[in-house]
Subunit: 342 residues, 3 copies
């Protein structure tokens, strides 16, 4: 494919020899002759002058005359579209049911759907058009899976789960497991039977080994377009809005609600029964114990509004100095105290 | 079922029309005509006046005259019992061995037990009365599983594990994997062969994708009645007492011991070789590096006794103010120092 | 086996009756007659005088005359070798392909390799000499697995993964899942197709339910001899050196690079696009947002060089006292301020 063709298909502006032949994509540090790469993060600009790539996707203002380039205000998205050109989506499971799969006679599988080897599908479940369920995945009873979903090997989708269209679920994910609910009694804990369900809306993607519990009563909801990374824990009755980004190892406790477009960085923890408004962003490893109004950014343990949190961290860095200066002041002022030593 | 019948079966006091017909349970925000709901947390009291539920379970002192109520000092437990009335426990795997399961001839399965499709059971293992092992679960060799256990799909129980009665294990759990033990040598790390086992006592529940390593030597022990949430890590030779509550994403390092009734909130980490006495409670995300005496509550990173920790957090909130006031004092007192600036 | 024989085989120095018969290994608190145990951590020295073990492995300078001992400067490694004597490695999966396994005709399995029940192996994959793949594991297409590897039940190895020799992968591990990459557009998120791969070098061990994403472009690399514990998250394009130790629940964000011999304690989080030099050590639960030079030890949230971090923690412990002393100084100096109260 020539650079000109690529430029046309992704809507970018070519500079330099647009007849350059491109055969593959590669990261800038590893790209070789015939490959195209990109820089979206200024941190990697230094590679522009040394890469062996045959072409680069760059922001309009990054200087580069050695090799031909494609220019676009969003090089990352542009490059994503170029990857799609070179790696078109392939079907992973052919239409039909593999002979080793166990599909209950009370289940309904669209003829265009692919059910892989050793998959289990329980009674009352429906698998929609062009959905693919890979090897050894488990689908319980009364589950609905929409169209064009991709369910990777070893996923466990328990009874009553509702999954929309175009959902991608990576290996080892568990959806619809019991929430963690117990009432204390005189004779130990009484399990609160978890009789709700989990609902995963359209265009959601869920990372490997993530767990999403069913509601205790009513649903746990993952809103349309939301993307969840690996090893995330989502407790019963969490309700998450649309287009949220939940990075790996985040934990969200029961009944907490997230608006649209919330971003939680890695290893964040949220307590239960709070609300994060739309557009809230929370920094990595933060521990959030209070509701956060829409649009705010928080950080820290305990989490605080980010500017306040940064001011606190700045002083923390100087605590040893602060302590010394306090002692000096005490001396100067003539405060002598049994409290002054360790 | 009438409210009067429900009241009688769960031992609560009806108020208002006890002949009201109830057909299901629901969360208070979603409940409709014919459903019963509850309020146990004062935070949700505002819904009492607006819910469409036909009845509510409430504390004796929460005002409500619009609709009939059941009154009890423990509304949560009372409601749990009502859920049990409407959703009686059902058998998930019929007695007998599914034809696709692979059960070693050296294994012993009680005729009342249910072994689901594509389950593997190794030699020397015993499955007790009325236990159910769901699809694609793996049981290694010389494993003992007691009576009335429920093993969800995709659980992996490795060789030599001992599991008591009435244990529930959610999908993706791994029990009896090798602990993380290596001795450094001149030529890299020498693996410490993990030759112990894991022991899960009666009435334990283990959440999805949690991992419990076998002992290096001797057992890793989860005490009777203990409840473990999703994605928890329990290292080799941990010994946990009875009725502990371990919330999701907690990590407990090797050889650490917990007494009875210990509560670890979400994402807590414990270092190895320490002891937490009975009744210890640790707040979310805390990092515990020392033993904690019985009955104490700790919090923070590093974790400290909770009152001390709260006093520290309170001052942390004012660190920017504290810094300014120190500078002002220095000026007032006439301390001028090259250390005073950034 | 006599103590003398053991001493000879592991290269330790016997003291006391070297003809003592030893039949098993055990932890010091549980050891009984006929068993050998060890003490490597001074914390457990008190057990030397009370253990019922018939022999102990000790450092040369730990006093013990009650029972025979083996002395060595590295008691832990010595004991590891003794465990190996009593528990020689056993084959878990016999050579050949179990009839219930599904091996694509385009895959190549060495005749000495063992493919367990209900395993899936996709087209183009190669399984090397004496490797064992246990029940229900999934191997996608174009995967290479070297010699003498041990793949536990329920592992998911996705397309294009490269695995060296002598690699151990515990249950539930996912390798080669899609990295978490999305470009924002006006109409929600555009998935960045993940077209790289994962490469696991020789002698790596990976703990239960850990997830290792494939590269977005190019590889994610785990260097030879590196040991990874349970529930760890390794994002796309991470490159890790040799002989690293990654303790459980660590999360490493995309494109971050680790040198050789890096040690990350439990629950550590690293942001993306940073570099940790060889020999770096990071304390438990630390949050690292900057590159760290070789050989340094860091700790804290946010992580700082360990000595600085310790000085800060020491002052944090005294913050309530510091606050009181500041107020006293203000009073003494005569600063009166509307800022002085809450």
């Amino acid at each position: 494919m020539t650079l000109a063709e690529i430029a046309r298909q992704v809507g970018a502006t070519p500079q330099g020899n647009a007849q350059t032949e491109i055969s593959d994509v590669a990261p800038i540090e590893r790209a070789v002759f015939g490959q195209i790469s990109f820089v979206a993060n200024a941190k990697y600009n230094r590679h522009v002058e040394t890469t062996s790539a045959s072409a680069l996707v760059l922001l309009p203002d990054v200087p580069c005359s050695r090799i031909p380039t494609l220019r676009h205000l969003n090089p990352y998205l542009t490059f994503a579209k170029i990857i799609d050109l070179f790696y078109p989506e392939e079907r992973r499971v052919p239409a039909g049911v593999h002979p080793s799969a166990i599909v209950d006679s009370g289940a309904t599988v669209d003829p265009s759907a692919g059910i892989g080897p050793m998959v289990h599908i329980g009674t009352g479940s429906r698998i929609g058009r062009d959905s693919q369920i890979m090897a050894s995945a488990f689908v319980g009873g009364d589950v609905r899976i929409g169209e064009r979903c991709l369910i990777y090997p070893g996923v466990r989708i328990l009874d009553d789960t509702i999954i929309g269209n175009d959902v991608i679920i990576h290996p080892g994910v568990v959806i619809g497991s019991d929430g963690f609910g117990f009432a204390r009694t005189d004779r130990g804990m009484h399990k609160i039977k978890q009789v709700g369900w989990a609902e995963i809306q359209d265009n959601v993607e869920i990372g490997a080994n993530t767990t999403i519990d069913r509601g205790a009563l009513g649903p746990t909801v993952i809103g349309a377009g939301t993307k969840i990374d690996n090893l995330v824990q989502i407790a019963h009755n969490v309700e998450m809005g649309k287009n949220c980004i939940i990075v790996s190892q985040v934990g969200i406790s029961g009944s907490t609600k997230l608006g649209d477009g919330v971003v939680l960085a890695g290893q964040v923890g949220l307590v239960g029964h709070i609300e994060l408004g739309s557009g809230v962003q929370v920094g990595a490893q933060s521990g959030v114990s209070r509701s956060i109004p829409s649009g705010e950014s928080w950080f820290g343990y305990p989490a605080r509004e980010i500017h306040q949190s940064r001011r606190i961290v700045a002083v923390q860095d100087r605590l040893p100095d602060l302590w010394k200066r306090l002692l000096r002041l005490e001396k100067k002022v003539g405060v002598t105290s049994d409290e002054s030593g360790e």
